[in-house]
C-alpha cells in the first residue's frame, strides 16, 4: 500500500466519490417516486426489476434513445451548453466535502475527500453559485416565454436565498474558526461539539436548510419549474438526455447540500458518543446523516404546497435575511464574550 503512487489513490477517490454521487442521483430519482407513492397510498414503480429497483436504469436507457428536439428560434450553442452548466457545479463541489476522517489502509493515511482545500467553503459557494447560470441560460436559449420566466425566477430566487445561505454558513465558520471543511469537521468530534448543539447553530441550521431548498430549486421553492404556471419552467423545451442532465444536476445539488448540512451542523463523519470510532464507521455515519437530509428533501416536497412568488421574496428578504444577519451578530457576540471557538 505504501508504494502505490499518489495519482492512483487520487483517481480511485475521484471515481468512488464522484461515482457515488451519480449513483445517489439515480437512487434519488427512484426514491422520489417511491416515497411520494408511499405517502399517497400508492406502490410507486414496481415493474422493472425487484421492487422497481432497476427503474433508474430503464429511465436512463429511455432518455438516451429519445429524440432530441431543439426549438427553431433557440440559440443552439447555449441551448446545448446549458444543461451541462447546470449539472457541473454540483458535481465539482462534492470534491471538497470530507466524507470521512482519515482512512488508514495498509499503514497509509488517506484523507477521505477528493480535495483538502483551505478555503473549502468558499470554493463550494463560488462554484455552487454558478449553478444558476445553467438554469438562466437554458431558459433564455430556449426562445420560449415559459422557459424565460422560469430562468428569471431562478435568478431572482438565487440572489435572494444565496445571501441567507452564505450568512448562515458564515456563523458556522465563525464558530469553528476555519473555512476548511476538514477543520470544521475536526472541531465537532464529539456530539456535544456539534454545531447544532449551540443556540446559534440551531438557528443557522434552520436558515441553512430552508435556503438550501431554495438553492436547489426544490419544493416548496421550485419557482423555476412551477408546472401549473410555467408548464415546466426552464426545461420546458428540453428533451431526452439534456432534460435528464438537468435532473441529474438537481439531484447532485441536493446531494451536495445534504452533505454540507451534515458536515456543517452534524459533525459530518463524527459518530455520536464514539469520538475515536473506526474511519469506516465514520463514513457510514456521514452517509446516514446526508441520507436523512436527502430524504428530507423528498419528504418536504410531497408535504408542502408551493409558495406564491411574492411570498417567496418576502420570506427571503424580510424574514430569512434579517434572521441570518442577527444570527451572525449573535455568533460574534457569543465568541467575543465566551472566547469560545
Amino acid at each position: 500500500m505504501q508504494d502505490v503512487p499518489e495519482l492512483v489513490i487520487w483517481i480511485a477517490k475521484i471515481v468512488l466519490i464522484f461515482g457515488g454521487m451519480i449513483a445517489t442521483a439515480a437512487i434519488m430519482s427512484l426514491a422520489e417516486r417511491k416515497v411520494s407513492a408511499w405517502m399517497q397510498y400508492r406502490y410507486g414503480p414496481n415493474r422493472v426489476g425487484p421492487f422497481g429497483l432497476l427503474q433508474p436504469l430503464a429511465d436512463g436507457v429511455k432518455f438516451i434513445f429519445k429524440e432530441e428536439l431543439i426549438p427553431a428560434g433557440a440559440n443552439k450553442l447555449l441551448f446545448r451548453l446549458a444543461p451541462a452548466l447546470a449539472a457541473m457545479p454540483s458535481m465539482l463541489t462534492i470534491a471538497v466535502i470530507p466524507i470521512g476522517t482519515t482512512a488508514v489502509i495498509g499503514g497509509r493515511e488517506i484523507p477521505l475527500g477528493i480535495a483538502q482545500l483551505d478555503i473549502g467553503i468558499m470554493y463550494m459557494l463560488a462554484i455552487g453559485g454558478l449553478g444558476v447560470y445553467g438554469v438562466i441560460l437554458g431558459g433564455w436559449a430556449s426562445n420560449s416565454k415559459y422557459s424565460m420566466l422560469g430562468g428569471l425566477r431562478a435568478a431572482a430566487q438565487m440572489i435572494s436565498y444565496e445571501l441567507t445561505l452564505i450568512l448562515s454558513i458564515l456563523a458556522i465558520v465563525a464558530l469553528s474558526g476555519s473555512l476548511d471543511l476538514n477543520e470544521i469537521v475536526a472541531s465537532q468530534r464529539e456530539i456535544g461539539d456539534w454545531n447544532i448543539c449551540t443556540p446559534m447553530g440551531v438557528l443557522a441550521f434552520v436558515l441553512f436548510t430552508i435556503a438550501s431548498f431554495a438553492e436547489t430549486n426544490r419544493h416548496p421553492f421550485d419557482f423555476a419549474e412551477c408546472e401549473p404556471e410555467l408548464v415546466g419552467g426552464f426545461h420546458t423545451e428540453y428533451s431526452a438526455m439534456r432534460f435528464a442532465l438537468y435532473f441529474i444536476g438537481e439531484y447532485c445539488a441536493m446531494t451536495v447540500m445534504s452533505s454540507l448540512n451534515a458536515t456543517l451542523f452534524f459533525g459530518g463523519p463524527s459518530v455520536p458518543f464514539m469520538p475515536d470510532a473506526h474511519w469506516a464507521l465514520g463514513v457510514l455515519a456521514f452517509l446516514i446523516k446526508a441520507g436523512f437530509f436527502l430524504f428530507l428533501f423528498i419528504w418536504v416536497r410531497w408535504t408542502l404546497p408551493r409558495l406564491r412568488f411574492d411570498q417567496l421574496m418576502r420570506l427571503g428578504w424580510r424574514v430569512m435575511l434579517p434572521l441570518a444577519l442577527f444570527n451572525l451578530l449573535a455568533t460574534g457576540a457569543w465568541i467575543a464574550f465566551t472566547g469560545d471557538h
Binding site: 408511499w38 397510498y41 406502490y43 414496481n46 434552520v206 408535504t303 408542502l304
Partner: protein, 170 residues
C-alpha cells in the same frame, strides 16, 4: 356580495415552521399505511352482472346466433357504432345478419343496444379490455362478437331482473 371571512392566524401558525413540522408528521405517518391502489393486470377489476362491458352477440345452445337482423340496435346506437346487413336464411326464422359489425372505437358501452334488442340477441358482456395495434383490428365482425349464451347468462338474468316489470321470462 360574498365576503370571505379568513380565519385569523395565531402566532404559531404565522411562524409557519410548527405547521410545516405538523404537515411532515402527517405525511410520515401515511408513509407506513397500506397502499389502496390496485395492481391492475395481476389484480383485475371486480366483475359482476352489473358490469357493463363491451356488447357481444348471444349464440344460442343450438349453435346459431339469436340475432334476426331487425336493426333495432343499429337505430338505438347513439354512436353509430353498429352496422348490420340482413339476409335470408333457411333456418326457419327468415332473416339473419350476413354482416354485423361493431366499431369498438366508436362504441361508448352505453347498453342501448341491449335495451333495444327484442330477441335477447345482444348483451353487454363483462369484457372490458380493449387494446390493439391497429384501428382495423378494433372493427369487430360477427365472428369476434359471438359468445355462447352460457358466458353471458349472469348478465341476461340481471337484465331480466332489472326489467321484470314489462318483460316476461323466456
Amino acid at each position: 356580495m360574498v365576503v370571505v371571512q379568513r380565519k385569523e392566524l395565531t402566532l404559531l401558525e404565522r411562524l409557519y415552521l410548527p405547521e410545516v413540522v405538523r404537515g411532515l408528521s402527517i405525511t410520515f405517518r401515511k408513509f407506513f399505511e397500506k397502499p389502496i391502489t390496485r395492481q391492475y393486470p395481476e389484480q383485475p377489476l371486480p366483475k359482476d352482472a352489473v358490469t357493463r362491458g363491451q356488447p357481444r352477440l348471444v349464440v344460442k345452445d343450438d349453435g346459431n346466433i339469436a340475432c334476426v337482423a331487425c336493426g333495432m340496435c343499429e337505430v338505438a346506437c347513439p354512436a353509430y357504432a353498429i352496422t348490420i346487413d340482413g339476409g335470408e336464411t333457411d333456418r326457419g326464422i327468415e332473416r339473419e345478419p350476413k354482416r354485423f359489425d361493431i366499431d369498438m372505437l366508436r362504441c361508448i358501452l352505453c347498453g342501448f343496444c341491449e335495451e333495444a334488442c327484442p330477441k335477447d340477441a345482444i348483451f353487454m358482456s363483462d369484457e372490458l379490455e380493449l387494446a390493439d395495434f391497429s384501428r382495423a383490428a378494433l372493427l369487430y365482425d360477427i365472428e369476434k362478437l359471438k359468445r355462447p349464451k352460457s358466458t353471458l347468462q349472469k348478465r341476461i338474468d340481471y337484465v331480466y331482473k332489472l326489467n321484470n316489470r314489462w318483460r316476461r321470462a323466456p
